[in-house]
């Protein structure tokens, strides 16, 4: 199987408003794709459609993941099949502890793969190790999910979940926005530690800076619900220098 994800002519609406207007994107195992684009261009919409959030109406096109129709599957099944979305704005869930969520998610995925639930002590060891890796204090494990976390702590927590769940397709929706350099390195390390020939990443970002730490194979520019340009890592540098205006103008003229 040489294609992990194939998006073809994807159109989607939110609240009756067309947001995605024909996205085509093919992601192969092992690749890192960066998606950049102005505010409101549809980056989070694309991420949410892939993760299966309700309220997004796909009006045209297909998404094939590991040879299966992804859009047919409920969100939890997508997750169990290895799709992971690191949210742009992770929600706070008071009363559900971080560690419990991790364990429930980890076991749900294991059951899906026909494996036994994990032994509590082994799991704790794994979680503690990964918690150190993302440079979070262990006490965060016992707090409510994201409850009272700072912006940077929330993003680290998303990376912690990703590191533990070991997904196959990781979609990071602006996980790097608003982070200081230390936290940015944590995110980059989290991604780089997981990089493997089977796994792929879609990094939604506004800033070239992240790509100094994670070298993308492809960079795409999303504007007005379409991918208007694709290139290699140098495109990100060009965008950083020139902004999006020239591309949007070129796309409009085309």
């Amino acid at each position: 199987m040489n294609t992990l994800l194939r998006i073809e002519n994807l159109h989607a609406r939110v609240d009756g408003k067309a947001i995605l207007k024909g996205i085509d994107l093919t992601v192969k195992p092992g690749e890192v794709h960066a998606i950049m684009g102005p505010n409101g261009s549809g980056k989070s919409t694309l991420s949410n459609v892939l993760a299966g959030r309700s309220g997004y109406e796909v009006t045209e096109g297909t998404v094939t993941y590991r040879g299966q129709n992804l859009l047919d599957q409920p969100p939890e099944q997508r997750a169990r099949e290895g799709v992971f979305l690191a949210f742009q704005y992770p929600v706070e869930i008071p009363g559900v502890s971080n560690i419990y969520l991790l364990k429930a998610a980890y076991n749900a995925i294991r059951r899906h793969r026909g494996l036994n639930e994990v032994d509590a002590l082994d799991f704790l060891k794994l979680v503690k190790e990964k918690t150190r890796m993302v440079d979070l204090d262990e006490q965060f494990l016992y707090r409510g999910v994201n409850e009272g976390f700072s912006g940077g702590e929330k993003k680290r927590n998303e990376i912690l979940q990703m590191a533990i769940l070991e997904p196959t397709l990781c979609i990071l929706d602006e996980t790097d926005s608003g982070l200081d350099i230390d936290a940015l390195k944590v995110v980059a390390n989290g991604v780089n530690a997981l990089r493997s020939p089977e796994r792929a990443f879609i990094l939604v970002t506004h800033y070239q800076r992240l790509l100094d730490y994670i070298k993308p194979d492809h960079v795409h520019v999303l504007a007005h619900g379409r991918i208007v340009r694709s290139g290699d890592a140098s495109l990100a540098h060009e965008l950083e220098r020139k902004g999006y205006g020239w591309i949007e103008a070129a796309a409009a003229g085309a």
Partner: protein, 434 residues
């Protein structure tokens, strides 16, 4: 028709056992006369607006005679026993010493059935305080259930701590019902001496398919700087009628915690009143769950009589199916109660379109230098939270259960010393939440 049918109960009144003191017979007859005149509370009464008790009047629940069915009771007790506690067990309104556990109670503690104390001679020394305790007005709003309870109570628990006694183990009071169409009418007296401290777990339990009426009234006194954590576990069967009222007086620097888990019953009223003295504190935390056609009414009243008191009332309701919940809470800050710090909030999750909640938190403030706040929310589960969990591989039903449990568990977190154990009881209702 129903207005008169409470007279069935009046007609069923028998003169109490001859070994009861004369003062009690007098109290009972007075209460019966008031009950005969007014009956059970009617929805015309503002405090009973949302709860119609007509179904109780349409039936005649009878008191048990003979001995209690302890076999049936034992399994029920074991289903909700708190480990390592002293206990008194009442089955169908009758004290069962064999099932009770009182070994090793320290000196200065009385833990006894009310009926057996009343049967003792006047010389016993308890008569005077029992009389004053029972005679005490049950605070601000007297109503038919209280008179009914006074007229008909068969027994109850008495817990008395002398000055300075701190009980290191909790005391669990079991009120078990086993008989269809039976009634259990109990009166408990709890008196915490100066600097004394106790935890009491009042537990109501019965079989799922049995219809019965339990009315249990607690009269509670906490003396200067004493502390009581009073837990109420309302785990009645789904066809049960329950009226429970707790009426506490808390003296200077005293602390009264009331922690409610109301999970069972068909028609339930949980009433709790506290009257606070100088710098006295109360914390009332409640979780009520209802499903099917259950009706659960929580009625709270706090009176701040003197300065520097504090009250924290936090109740959360979870309502499913066609069930109905009520939260009626009132904190009254009287004119002398300057520097009172009072807060009341009620949050509710409506998990079905057919479920309903009437909620009415009220502050009535007659002093000018106070800090008071109240709030209410009624809502559904947050779809973003549900999606977050789903996006991590958790199915929708489990995600909803986790979030619902979390909503309730946040209150149980405030349950003080027994919170871990009671969390387990709540969790039994949400088997996939953890």
């Amino acid at each position: 028709m129903s207005a008169l049918s409470h007279s069935l109960y009046v007609d069923s009144y028998r003169e109490p056992a001859t070994n009861e003191p004369a003062w009690l017979s007098r109290l009972r007859r007075q209460a019966l006369a008031r009950f005969e005149a007014s009956g059970f509370p009617s929805p015309r009464d503002e405090e009973w607006r949302y709860t119609h008790v007509a179904p109780i009047e349409r039936k005649l629940f009878t008191a048990a005679t003979g001995s209690a069915d302890t076999d049936a009771a034992e399994a029920l007790i074991e289903s909700c026993r708190i480990a390592d506690a002293w206990s008194l067990v009442f089955v169908d309104g009758m004290f069962v010493p064999e099932l009770s556990e009182r070994h090793g109670l320290p000196a200065g503690v009385t833990l006894e059935s009310l009926a057996s104390l009343l049967a003792l001679s006047e010389a016993d020394g308890n008569a005077a305080w029992l009389e004053s305790g029972l005679e005490r007005e049950t605070e601000s709003d007297r109503h038919g259930f209280l008179d009914f309870n006074t007229a008909f109570f068969t027994d109850g628990a008495v817990l008395r701590l002398e000055e300075g006694v701190a009980l290191e183990k909790p005391v669990q009071l079991f009120f078990v019902s086993t008989r269809n169409d039976g009634r259990a009418t109990l009166r408990n007296l709890i008196r915490i001496g100066r600097n004394a401290e106790a935890r009491v777990v009042e537990t109501h339990v019965g079989p799922p398919e049995t219809g019965y009426l339990g009315t249990v009234v607690n009269q509670i006194e906490v003396a200067d700087n004493g502390g009581l954590n009073h837990y109420k576990l309302q785990l009645d069967g789904g066809r049960a009628y329950h009226f429970g009222g707790s009426y506490a007086r808390v003296a200077r620097d005293g602390r009264f915690g009331h922690h409610l888990l109301s999970l069972g019953g068909l028609l339930v009223r949980n009433e709790v009143h506290a009257r606070l003295g100088h710098a006295a504190q109360t914390e009332m935390n409640g979780v009520f769950l209802s499903e099917n056609r259950q009706h659960v009414d929580n009625h709270i009243r706090v009176d701040h009589d003197e300065p520097h008191g504090s009250s924290r009332v936090s109740y959360r309701g979870i309502l499913e199916d066609r069930s109905r919940g009520v939260f009626q809470g009132r904190i009254v800050v009287h004119a002398d109660a300057q520097k009172t710090d009072a807060e009341m909030n009620n949050r509710n999750l409506l998990l079905s379109d057919d479920a309903e909640i009437d909620t009415k938190p009220q502050l009535e403030i007659h002093a000018d230098d106070v800090k008071c706040a109240h709030g209410v929310t009624i809502g559904q589960l947050d779809p973003d939270s549900v999606f977050y969990l789903e996006s991590r591989g958790i199915d929708a039903a489990t995600a909803r259960e986790m979030l619902t449990f979390a909503f309730a568990a946040e209150i149980v977190e405030r349950f003080g010393p027994l919170r871990e154990r009671l969390r387990g009881l709540l969790l039994a209702r949400f088997p996939n939440a953890q």
